[in-house]
Symmetry: C2
Subunit: 330 residues, 2 copies
């Protein structure tokens, strides 16, 4: 057996190792959604619960210089709520926050971080129910959210059928543009209005929870675009031996992205490969597409599912090759 | 407002800040145990759930040089199960493991770590249900366990009455002795049989889950001794304006601790102030004490609850002053 590093096997190699280690774990008839979706769901009595967990690590997921502590606290909750939204009709109820901080951290930093946690928890009526606070060299935020499934409303990543339309909410690419600006100029640079908009999309994402509630009962599959639109489409199609044809020109991008990054290739990269947009990506039978658009006007349909096991991208009817250069965790 | 560091306000100062920030959070009639106990409990339909969460951080909670990866994985689950045991009659069901690792970490390390997680999850019939794996500078392990409460069997930290006996399981001080040896000689030293026993008590704690199940219905209060016996006794008494008289000579210590550390003052320090013994500490009406001892012969009664708001320690009938020098997180 090769004793390589994780850097050499990559994130997906690592996930394979982990899956192999925990396979044959006790399986349970009460588990309705297991490993490999945005959240985990199980039945308890007559109800179903949904659990999500994310780790945010300083200098990997955020830099203290780029984001205010309250904004960081808000983001930590929003991105977890986004994982709940990605399951359909689920009401987030309780959160548990594990926090690791260096002993040199200031009181005011902690206060503002928790102000951020609380603000977003209040917004979604989530109770901060517990947690753990420990010393660490770098800031570590571990958020667990437990939600209650409403009306059997779970929508998995699997379920897309040939002929279904692929839908998304809002615009794509802003968060990726924002992080590029922060990398280049830092937080203190004098930014234009449009640049500030992109940075706010990176630092202050909004989970599409209410949108998910409205549309979930019509969907055949659903995820959120935390790792970029390209990855999300693969998750809903190729992961289940399906394919898709995508019309790039139907993917909306913001005025800000167009104004700040004028190179259209760059816009395309942010739109498809940029991470952290936290928009919904879903499939829906074509017959239901109009109803959804009425319920959530910010929906766009960008392509169609097929049986090809291949995702093709078209611009003005001409196929475009997309090279995946998304975020590499390891 | 003083803008001090956490080091200057200490762990309890930090917890106060956090509590103040999240007070006025939405409270809920379904919450049966909130912040400030070993786990958090809430009702869902006719059932009650119990949730625990712990962060383990490299060089704070463990050193890679001191513990094998499989043993580390086992410990991460056991200490969380111990928090579940500390709630009484609760069956741990699902776990979620967040893992942060440097990209230089070897495949074999990850495999063995997960082998450890799985071994203990199988032992307690817990399903590894999900998680998150990310890059980090140092190893971070965040474990969440969800358990199902059986027969309304929750025992809180509050509830001790004057006249109740204070009981503990097994011996105290071994884990503290073990960590002192590791600090002094490292892992590769040629240790004696007794020294190896103490190190194994530090590296391979066992949650007292089955013991908790057997005795919970008789108890008035319960916790586990993760931060040392002294702290646990305060948590069950002074925290709720109660006091206790403790007979130090009734607290059992192992032959190994006596043989390895011959100085009786040192033994006393490990026994009362050493962390990570993960034994149960509880109170019980004196009338039930005999039944409990029959159910779990490893129980010792070490003192009695009173209304004094003060915990006093006695050795051979003579009061001893104990200076709290327990582990300082910050």
């Amino acid at each position: 057996m090769k004793n390589g590093s994780i850097a050499s096997i990559g994130e997906f190699g690592l996930i394979d190792i982990i899956k192999n280690q925990i396979l044959n774990s006790k399986t349970e008839k009460n588990v309705t959604v297991g490993l490999g979706d945005d959240s985990f769901c199980f039945k308890l009595g007559k109800q179903s619960l949904c659990v999500t967990k994310d780790l945010l690590i300083e200098n990997v997921h955020f830099k203290k210089e780029w984001i205010m502590p309250q904004t960081l606290g808000q983001k930590a909750i929003e991105v977890n709520v986004s994982d709940i939204a990605a399951m359909g009709n689920v009401k987030p109820k309780y959160t548990f926050i594990g926090l690791g901080v260096p002993s040199t951290t200031s009181e005011i930093f902690i206060k503002n971080l928790y102000k951020g946690f609380k603000k977003i928890c209040d917004k979604y009526q989530i109770l901060i129910a517990g947690g753990d606070t420990v010393r660490a060299d770098k800031i570590v935020i571990s958020v667990t959210i437990i939600g209650v499934v409403c009306n059997d409303g779970i929508v998995k990543r699997s379920g897309a059928n040939a002929g279904d339309l692929i839908g998304i909410t809002n615009t794509f690419g802003d968060a990726g543009g924002g992080v590029e600006l922060l990398c280049k100029y830092g937080k203190k640079h004098k930014y234009t209005k449009y640049e500030r908009f992109l940075i706010s999309k990176q630092n202050s994402p909004k989970a599409r929870l209410h949108e998910a509630w409205k549309i979930s009962k019509y969907l055949t599959s659903l995820t959120d675009a935390s790792d970029g639109l390209y990855v999300s489409i693969e998750l809903l199609t190729k992961n289940f031996c399906k394919g898709a044809d995508i019309c790039i020109d139907k993917i909306p991008i913001s005025t800000a992205l167009k104004r700040v990054f004028k190179d259209s290739q760059k816009q395309l990269n942010f739109m498809l490969l940029g991470a952290e947009d936290y928009e919904l990506v879903f499939t829906v039978p074509a017959s239901e597409a109009k109803i959804l658009k009425k319920l959530v006007p910010q929906i766009s349909y960008i392509g169609e599912v097929n049986l090809s096991n291949k995702v093709r991208y078209f611009y003005n009817g001409k196929e475009q090759k997309i090279q995946y250069l998304g975020y590499k965790h390891f």
